[in-house]
């Protein structure tokens, strides 16, 4: 979205936006590139610090992917490691059990979260939108947006206080003589735990875009429906839902574009409680096998393949979203 927009503002009608800077001098001749560089040298100097940081820490690391093709050892200088071709990729091609498990968990978590996390802000937004009192709405929003700004460390620490062995719920159970429940260390319910944390943290914040889309719906439609005797439920179904359908589809596609990335920090913080088999995802696989276990080459290979698929998915999602996007809130605004 953003990218298309930025491009659009640039390539707008030729001549208009660029008129100020590159207006041809009296002779009708374009300035030479050297003259333009000299004219804009202050601007270029201003761009350098930010650009350098971006190149150094966002683009230079791409070169680091070369160790995916090496037998890399941390104490051997970067250039001297032995080249091993595609050996490191064999975990992917030959379907190494640990790798497949990480892939399976990643996709499973994405699936569960699309089903349970994605609709939560929509439902919440519809609920908030149907409130008659603006004041109550604002108070509720202030409360529900807050968790979004907390770090995962804080969120998980808070969850431990509520669900942990000596947390609020288990203390209450114990006081009543009921068996306690192991919420945090049970591999079978780990995905449910992750999902509830994401819902707690971000579904309030997620309502913002939907609430904005809801205000864009023509109020006249509701009036007309009321005159026709449509119940509020029918108004919801025939006016409200179609009004935000574009945005829903758009965000869903973008979410699917991120399929391979699931809450890395969130998982790494809780992994030692549930164990790796239940909680390993692609990103934690790369960290655990590479940085911790020293299999740098293999991890880099998995990271590289994941990254390539990720970019392809995001670009693909953007393209698809663009097709559907015509009906969304983006175009109306």
């Amino acid at each position: 979205m953003l990218i298309d927009q930025a491009r659009a503002t640039d390539s707008g009608p030729p001549g208009t936006p660029t008129a100020e800077r590159s207006a041809p001098p009296a002779g009708g001749q374009q300035l030479s590139w050297w003259a333009r560089a000299r004219r804009d040298k202050v601007l270029l100097l201003m761009a350098i610090p930010g650009l350098a940081l971006m190149l150094a820490f966002h683009y230079l690391p791409l070169l680091g992917n070369l160790i995916a093709f090496q037998e890399y050892l941390p104490f051997v200088p970067f250039g001297r490691s032995a080249w091993v071709g595609l050996d490191n990729f064999s975990v992917i091609f030959n379907g190494d059990a640990e790798f497949l498990n990480a892939l399976k968990n990643t996709l499973l978590i994405t699936l569960v979260q699309v089903i349970f996390v994605f609709p939560a802000p929509i439902a919440l937004a519809l609920l908030l939108n149907s409130l008659l009192s603006e004041r109550i709405k604002r108070v509720v929003q202030s409360v529900l947006y807050l968790p979004h700004f907390l770090s995962w460390v804080i969120v998980i620490a808070i969850f431990q206080q509520i669900l942990g062995g000596s947390g609020l719920i288990n203390n209450t159970l114990r006081a009543r003589g009921i068996d306690t429940i192991d919420f945090l260390g049970n591999p079978d319910s780990f995905i449910a735990l992750l999902t509830s944390q994401v819902i707690w943290k971000d579904s309030g914040w997620g309502t913002i875009l939907f609430l904005a889309a809801l205000t864009q719906i023509d109020q006249g439609l509701y009036e007309a429906a009321r005159v026709d005797g449509a119940s509020r439920l029918r108004q919801l179904w025939h006016i409200t839902v179609p009004g935000i359908r574009g945005l829903i589809i758009l965000l869903l596609i973008l979410r699917l574009g991120d399929s391979l990335t699931v809450g890395f920090e969130q998982i790494i913080l809780q992994q030692n409680l549930v164990g790796r088999p239940a909680s390993e995802v692609l990103d934690t696989y790369v960290y655990n096998n590479g940085v911790l276990a020293g299999q740098w080459g293999v991890s880099a290979a998995v990271g590289l393949v994941k990254g390539l698929f990720g970019v392809a998915l995001v670009i693909g999602a953007n393209k698809v979203a663009h097709i559907f996007g015509e009906a969304g809130v983006y175009q109306k605004a």
Partner: protein, 307 residues
Amino acid sequence: MSTQTNLLATTRRSSTIDDVPTIPTRVLKGIILLLCCTVVIVPFIGVISTSIASQAHVTESGGFVLWPDSLNWASYRAIFNGGVVQRALLVSFVITLGGTLVSLAGSTMLAYALSRPGSFGQRPILMIVLFSILFSPGLIPNYLVVKEFGLLDSLLALVLPTAINGFNVIVLRSFFMSIPASVIDSARVDGAGDFRIFWSIVLPLSRAVLAVIGLFYAVGYWNAFFNAMLYISDTAKWPLQLVLRTYVINNTELSSGDLGGASADQLPPQESIQMAILVISLVPILIVYPFLQRHFTKGMLTGAVKG
């Protein structure tokens, strides 16, 4: 026949409903929202309560107090007696303030250079910024670069890699581009150079968006945890989030040495100290939250609308 009854039923229902929701629906909505808010608020109250509850009360209620019977600041005194947490707090403040400055300086200047129509090199630089939004280089390559730059165990490793966010640069750029050209032209006629225009005209006009982006960066630095875990092995340079993870999530016991040498039998209960650490890491966010909420909502919508 059946359609007719159906139709009848519909008309009757809608006539009773009118456009004000019925009492039961309103009550139901109220209950759901109240429940949502409770689920968010109660943990915070519990965390704060446990941090200030008396030792007896904490033990008696199994480690988590919902409402304190008394005010007891011992755990905060223990923390601010010098020691691990106090040092980590300082590190976090330094990173957040320094990092936000670096980020804002780099991002605004880059965004401004990209906002002047037809300036030299704008197109390739813009492509570099835009494309950076689409991918992240990956953990291992990032680590290698930080290592090759010799930044392991340096606080710079917590700032420089995340200093420039492409998305923020684009948001700043679109704001700068919305400043009327006439304002900038008149300054140029008065003989102001590009930097002068940026510093004394563009930045003052952009205070609101600078606040938004600055807060974006600041919250990011304050909350960052994984980079510190990856790059910083010297515990003296740990930021607060990492201390929080070690002593609260992983439940490592805080010895009296970790707390600036208070004698062990005077220490408040671990649970209270843990919750006090949690509160301390929450407070800065809670302080800026009113601004965050107002501006982020606006900022996120402009981002969405513009983008």
